[in-house]
Assembly symmetry: none
Homo-oligomer: 410 residues x 2
C-alpha cells in the first residue's frame, strides 16, 4: 500500500512550525510496511487542500492528513475531506463526553466552536484523543483510505499509536512480521558509534541497523522482518549481542521511550536506595527530571537548589572559606555540596552540580565548565566536565552526566 | 510571486530526518514577500521528482529544490532538473578550485564523484557554498525560476542568505515589506481567544491575524504588508491596541521566542525583587525554568524541592500536625511552604507548589489537583488549580500558573 502524508497549516507554510509530524508518521508507516512516496504541506485554504486531495488520490491509496481539527475558523481539514467525499460530519459522543468533563473539571467556559472538535466523518470511525480534545477520523471510500489526525504532536502521536495503528495493521494483512528493538547509549557520539559498528552496518540486510542521534544520547534501531515474531527475535538476538559486546559500556537501556532517568529510578528502587541533589547551574533540572518518572517518591524525598553562594552556605552549611579559597565552581565545592545534601536529606546518595551555564564565564572559567559530585556511604567522588553549545544544552548535558554517574554507582 | 519548496531525499520520506529546511526557507521567502502555497517531499527517484517538477510548474513560478546535490549515487536533483529543462551541467570553476584546496589541506584523496558536486545548470548561475562543497544553481527558463540548494541546513542556510536572497530580491520588483508581530497570552484557551476576536479575525485582510496554540499558552501572529516598515507598523498598531483592549488581562508579552519566565525575571529585575520556591509535585521544574533565563542569578538565589512530607518538615519546618490535619495537598500546606521558603531564603517573594502529578490519586485527590501559593511582604495567597492530561503536562501547567501568579503580583 502507498501512502501520502499531507500536513495542513498555514503556520507550516510560513515556517513558524517545523513539520515534525511528517517524520513521525513516515517512520511509523515504514514500520508497518506502508510505503510513503510523497509528503506535502498545504495551508488552511479549502480549495488548495481539495485540489491536493484529488492529486494525492491519483498516486496513493492511503491519505494521512494532519492538522486543522481544532476549534478555530482556519481549522477545516475535516470539513474539506467530508465535502470532497460527499459525507456529513457527525458528533463523536465519547469525545463530546470527555470534552464536557474537561470543561467542568478545569472550570473554564466551553465555547460553541469547541463542538467542532468532536465531529468526525459520517460512515467512518472516530479516533479517541487521549491527550487533547479534537477527535480524529478514519474512513474508507472506494479504493482510498483517509486518516485525519490532529496537528499537535502531543495529540497526534498517541492517537496514531493507540487508535490508528491497529486500523492500518488490519488493512494490510502483512505476511511479514516486523520487529523493532531500540538500544540506547549514553557517553558515545553518533560518528564514533557508527565507526565501531561499521562492518555490521555495511553488511546489514535483515535486521537493519539505523543509528539516530538525540541530544546527549544515541539510539540504534534494529528492525527484523520474518514470518513470525519469534523468528524475527532469533534474527535480532545475535546482532544485539555483538553490538553490546562492543559498546556495552555505553548502553543504558532498551525501548522507544525509555529515559536514563527511568533506568536510574528503577535501579534505585531495586537496590532500595534513596537519592537527593544539590543543584547550582542546573537549578532544579536534575530533580525535575527525576520527578518526570511516576513513582519516584519511593526513592526521592527532595533536595536543594543552591544557585548563589549565599544559599550554598545557608541551605547546605558550605564553609564560606571553602568558596573563597576554591571558588563555587570547584571540586571541593561540588564534593561538599553532595556530602552536605546527603546528610541533610538523610539519603543513601546525593548528586551535586556546580558550574558555568553561560553565556558569560564565571570565576574565570568558560561556559560549560561543570563539576559533578556523587556522595554515598563509600565517600564522595567528583568529575570535571566540559560541555558546549548553549546554556540549555549545557544544563541538559550536566543532568544526563549526573544520571549516568548515579547509574554506574555500585 | 508564488513559490513551492521541494525537498528531495528518501531519508525524509522514511522519517529519519526532520525537514527543517522547509521551515527555514518558508520563513525567508515570507520575509521577501514571496508566497509559499505548497511544500513537498519526494524521494531520491528521478521519475517521481520529474513528475513533481512538472506539477509544481503549474501552480508556482519559483521552485526551490533542496537536497540531492552531493557526491553519491542517489544525489540526482541537478541531473533531473537539467534534463527536464534540456540543459547541460557545467563546471563551477570557483567551486572546483575551492574543493581542490579543501582536499589538499585535509590531505585526503579527492575521488572522482566529488567533481559532480561543483556542476551547475548551464545558462544559470552557480551559487557558492561557504560551508561545504556542493555548488548550488539558479536558473530562469521562460516564466519559471529554479533554485537548487544543498540538503544539509549548515550549507543551505548560508547559501540562501548570501547567494540566493540577493537574486530573489532582484526578481520581485514590487518591494513589499512584511512586518510580523507575535503577541503572547496565558490563561485563555485558543477557542475562547478566537471567540473574543471573532469579528477581527473574520474581517482580517491586512494585517492578517493567526492564532496558534502551544502548551499552556496561545500566540497571535499579526502580519502586515506595506510599501515600507513604518506604514506596516501603522497598519498593525490599531489592531494590536484593539486586541489588547479586549484580552489585555491574558497578555504577557511580545516576541517570537519570548517566554513567561523571561518576562517574570525581567519584571523582578526591574522591581529589584528576589524570589525563591518550594516545590513538591513540580520537583524543581519551576526553579529550573527560571534557570533557563540568562542572568537570573540577580533575582534567584535558590530554593527547595520538598517532594516528601519528611523534607517539607526537615527543610521548611512545616508543622507535622498541619500535614496531618490538612494533608500535604492543601491550601494550608501550600501557604506554609511559601512563607517558610521566603523566610529561609531571605527573598522578597516565594512560590510554593503542592499537588498531585499523577497518574495515581493522592490523599483522595485526583491527578491534576494543585495548590499554588505566593508569599510576599504583604502576606500569602493561594489558588487551587485543576490541571489535566498527563503527568508532564500537569507539572508544566503548574509552573506556568505559578509564573503568571508572580507576574500579576504587584
Amino acid at each position: 500500500m502507498k501512502a501520502e502524508i499531507i500536513a495542513v497549516g498555514t503556520e507550516l507554510l510560513l515556517g513558524q512550525v517545523i513539520n515534525t509530524n511528517a517524520a513521525f508518521l513516515a517512520e511509523e508507516l515504514a514500520d508497518l510496511g506502508i510505503e510513503v512516496y510523497y509528503q506535502t504541506v498545504v495551508g488552511d485554504n479549502p480549495q488548495r487542500l481539495a485540489e491536493l486531495i484529488t492529486e494525492a488520490e491519483q498516486r496513493s491509496e492511503l491519505l494521512v492528513l494532519c492538522g486543522g481539527l481544532g476549534p478555530t475558523e482556519d481549522d477545516l481539514t475535516k470539513q474539506v475531506v467530508a465535502t470532497h467525499l460527499g459525507r456529513d460530519l457527525v458528533q463523536d459522543q465519547q469525545g463530546l463526553k470527555k470534552m464536557e468533563q474537561h470543561f467542568t473539571f478545569s472550570g473554564r467556559r466551553m465555547t460553541e466552536n469547541n463542538l467542532l472538535q468532536t465531529l468526525y466523518i459520517s460512515g467512518g470511525t472516530p479516533l479517541a484523543n487521549t491527550t487533547g480534545l479534537a477527535s480524529g477520523s478514519f474512513i474508507t471510500v472506494a479504493q482510498h483510505h483517509y486518516l485525519l489526525l490532529p496537528g499537535p504532536p502531543s495529540e497526534l502521536q498517541p492517537m496514531f499509536r493507540l487508535a490508528a495503528r491497529p486500523l492500518l495493521t488490519a488493512l494490510s494483512p502483512v505476511q511479514e512480521r516486523i520487529v523493532s528493538r531500540v538500544l540506547r547509549f549514553y557517553g558515545i557520539g553518533e560518528s564514533q558509534l557508527v565507526t565501531e559498528l561499521a562492518d555490521l552496518i555495511a553488511g546489514q540486510t535483515n535486521p537493519t541497523i539505523a543509528p539516530y542521534a538525540k541530544p546527549n544520547e544515541v539510539t540504534l534501531r534494529l528492525t527484523a522482518k520474518a514470518s513470525d515474531e519469534s523468528v524475527a527475535n532469533q534474527l535480532l538476538q545475535p546482532v544485539i549481542e555483538e553490538i553490546l559486546a562492543r559498546l556495552g559500556q555505553y548502553y543504558y537501556g532498551e525501548g522507544e521511550t525509555t529515559t536514563l532517568a527511568q533506568v536510574v529510578v528503577a535501579q534505585l528502587q531495586a537496590a532500595g536506595q534513596t537519592i537527593t541533589a544539590a543543584e547550582s547551574l542546573t537549578a532544579g533540572l536534575f530533580q525535575s527530571t527525576l520527578g518526570d518518572v511516576p513513582g519516584v517518591s519511593s526513592v526521592f524525598p527532595g533536595g536543594f537548589v543552591t544557585y548563589s553562594a549565599a544559599t550554598k552556605m545557608a541551605f547546605l552549611d558550605i564553609d564560606p572559606q571553602l568558596i573563597e579559597i576554591h571558588g563555587a565552581v570547584s571540586e571541593a565545592c561540588a564534593k561538599a555540596m553532595a556530602q552536605q545534601a546527603r546528610e541533610k536529606a538523610h539519603t543513601d546518595l546525593a548528586v551535586a552540580f556546580t558550574g558555568v551555564a553561560g553565556p558569560e564565564p564565571l570565576e574565570g572559567k568558560p561556559a560549560g565548565t561543570v563539576w559533578i559530585a556523587v556522595a554515598s556511604q563509600q565517600g564522595v567522588r567528583a568529575e570535571l566536565c566540559h560541555f558546549n553549545r548553549d546554556r540549555a544544552y549545557i544544563r541538559h548535558s550536566a543532568v544526563m552526566k549526573g544520571l549516568d554517574m548515579v547509574r554506574r554507582q555500585k
